[in-house]
């Protein structure tokens, strides 16, 4: 899952990024609203974690503006303002969830998963696709009921393909989801991951549309 973290406090941001990386999230961190807007214009984000007190403005006002402009990405507000009116204001402004600081990392991760699941329109956290089963929270994959161990990038690639639900994803989009915005990666990195995924789960799991990109293959070979 690709998360955009908007947080001006370096220490907290570093901690959240590290904590989410443990849970195999791809996190991009920005510290101002203008940087957040620039990032949202450029790449896809599954969930936004938004602090409200930011150096270049109020996060709540920005969130209202984003919603007016049609942003559909779920937003989790992460702030030190914990009064009930603040929570009401946050959720009314377009926030999908509200977590006051200080928080528990596990709770933050669970809420992000729940937000993402709801956005995907799924009632259950597990995803079933033919003989393949995937639990995004436990980061576990089963093939024909048997657990398969996948490294972090391959899991994220599989999750991205599941979440895209058959939509075509370009090589660049996949890189961005797997590595984030700033990371430099080898040009064939995605090809290598797709090769490993096909080897472990079956060739049908990823469908290549030559010259355009990739998408989730059919449920049965």
């Amino acid at each position: 899952m690709h998360v955009l973290l908007v947080e001006d406090d370096e220490l907290i941001a570093r901690g959240v990024c590290a904590g989410l990386a443990f849970a195999e999230f791809t996190v991009d961190h920005v510290s101002t609203l203008s940087q957040a807007e620039a990032a949202l214009d450029v790449f896809h984000t599954d969930v936004i974690i938004l602090d409200l007190s930011l150096p270049d403005g109020d996060g709540l006002a920005a969130l209202k503006r984003w919603r007016r402009e049609g942003l559909l990405t779920p937003v989790l507000i992460l702030t030190a303002r914990d009064a009930v009116p603040d929570k009401v204001a946050g959720l009314s402004a377009g926030g999908d969830d509200y977590l006051p600081k200080p928080f528990d990392l596990d709770e933050l991760i669970a809420r992000l998963h729940a937000l993402h699941r709801r956005t995907q329109g799924r009632a259950e956290s597990r995803i079933q696709h033919g003989n393949i089963e995937f639990d995004p929270v436990a980061r576990q994959v089963w093939k024909d009921g048997k657990p398969i161990t996948l490294p972090r990038r391959e899991l994220t690639l599989l999750e991205t393909l599941f979440n895209a639900r058959g939509t075509l994803l370009s090589n660049e989009q996949l890189k961005e989801r797997l590595y984030g915005f700033d990371t430099e990666v080898e040009s064939n990195a995605i090809n290598v991951h797709i090769h490993h995924l096909r080897r472990k789960l079956g060739n049908h799991i990823v469908e290549t549309v030559r010259g355009v990109g990739y998408r989730l293959g059919p449920a049965t070979p």
Partner: protein, 440 residues
């Protein structure tokens, strides 16, 4: 007891007692006047009879009168005429006993057959003429007059009491309205009190009350903002501590070490904020600072610069040598802290290569020393300058707590000094801190 009841009780009792006293006085006078009038009546009757008798020689009227029957009709006033030798010559009533036999002249009272009579006797031509009326009749008359005058009196008394009740009720209705308005309010409501047609006497009370409520609302809002800002400032390092400790628990080796040192950095930040909050609270409260001896200006400058990280950038050429030995009338720890915060702020918000100028001058007939700190930094607007001493306000991405300048201002105010910010002609920020001197 309610004000209305108390007023009614006091005024009602006073009214009633006054009316009763006046009534008693009137009735007493009336009774005396009535007795005098009735006395005059029997005296006049006796005089009339006496006048008639003197017009005839004794032997003439004696014969004539003896043959006449006395009146049988009930008269209010009775009359007897007797000779000097006690012979009854004439009387108005047949049944009258010879009770008027006494020869004393003038007014007297006699009881005859169990009935009291008021008698007047006069002597004319050797005849005694007595006229009399019954005391009981007099009392009856007196009672009738008392009853006749009591009814309008009582009507007037009760009318007055009703008018009093209505008047007090109507007169105090704005108070009742105020009481109602206040009792209907929620205990935590700070909305202004509105009373329609409030009398002149109540207007200043209501205006002052509303002014007080407005000030209280303002104070509460400020307190709430401060609490909320303080909570925010405390939660931020707390979150960093908690997050990094959780991460340290899930990692090992270098990564764990890094998380622990990040948590420690957050602890240092939390400690600094707590210390600043405590200093601010103490400066603003009635906390008794130690009776330290006033320190000279030179010591304060040294104290303020001692712990500053970039003190080499401070240019102290502008320090007036004549002022260096003067003593500042503030506990040296606080005066040093105020100057240190000012310099620290200037160092952190200016270009790393540019100097920060510190100078001093004397003010207000040498009773105040002014520390002037100038620095070259980001372009500032007057609006931003106005926020400088606002608690927890930070300029853009500055990493301070937002309390440093608020502490400087609080120290200056607590000890009769001043803090002001302005831009000089070169666009440099100029902070002027005036502190009182104990001697000059």
């Amino acid at each position: 007891m309610a004000l209305q009841q108390r007023l009614l009780l006091i005024l009602g009792t006073s009214f009633t007692l006054l009316w009763l006293a006046v009534a008693a006085w009137l009735l007493r006078d009336l009774d005396q006047e009535l007795q005098r009038t009735l006395d005059q009546r029997i005296e006049a009757s006796a005089g009339t009879v006496s006048g008639l008798i003197t017009q005839f020689p004794e032997e003439t009227w004696q014969k004539e009168l003896k043959t006449q029957s006395p009146f049988t009709k009930e008269l209010d006033v009775v009359c007897q005429v007797r000779s000097e030798d006690e012979n009854l010559l004439l009387q108005t009533h047949r049944e009258l006993p010879p009770w008027l036999g006494t020869q004393e002249e003038g007014f007297s009272e006699h009881e005859i057959h169990g009935e009291k009579w008021r008698v007047y006797t006069t002597k004319t031509n050797g005849l005694y003429i007595s006229t009399a009326d019954k005391v009981a009749d007099r009392k009856l008359l007196n009672k009738s007059i008392f009853l006749a005058s009591s009814v309008p009196f009582l009507v007037a008394l009760f009318g007055s009491l009703i008018a009093l009740w209505l008047g007090v009720r109507r007169g105090l209705s704005p108070l009742g309205e105020l009481r109602h308005a206040l009792s209907q309010r929620r205990p935590d409501s700070l909305a202004p009190v509105n009373i329609e047609k409030a009398p002149e006497e109540l207007k200043p009370v209501i205006e002052n009350l509303n002014l007080l409520l407005a000030r209280m609302e303002d104070t509460l809002a400020r307190e709430q903002r401060f609490t909320s800002d303080a909570a925010h400032e405390l939660r931020t390092p707390l979150t960093a501590i908690k997050t990094h400790l959780q991460l340290a628990n899930r990692s090992e080796g270098n990564a764990q070490h890094q998380f622990l040192s990040d948590a420690e950095a957050a602890v240092v930040r939390l400690q600094r904020i707590l210390e600043q909050l405590l200093t601010l609270a103490r400066v603003e409260s009635s906390y008794q600072w130690g009776q330290e001896e006033a320190s000279p200006v030179s010591d304060l400058v040294e104290l303020a610069m001692a712990d500053l990280a970039q003190k080499d950038r401070i240019n102290t050429a502008g320090l007036d040598p004549k002022l260096q030995a003067l003593h500042v009338a503030i506990p040296s720890g606080l005066a040093g802290l105020a100057l240190k915060n000012l310099l620290d702020n200037a160092l952190r918000h200016s270009d790393a290569a540019s100097p920060v100028y510190l100078s001093t001058q004397c003010h207000q007939h040498n009773t105040m020393v002014e520390f002037i700190v100038e620095n070259q930094g980001d372009e500032l607007t007057p609006e931003a300058i106005a926020h400088f001493t606002q608690r927890f306000w930070r300029n853009s991405q500055a990493n301070g707590s937002g309390l440093g300048l608020a502490i400087v201002e609080a120290i200056a105010h607590r000890f009769g000094g001043q803090l002001a910010f302005s831009l000089n002609e070169n666009g440099q920020l100029m902070a002027k801190l005036q502190l009182p001197l104990s001697s000059c």
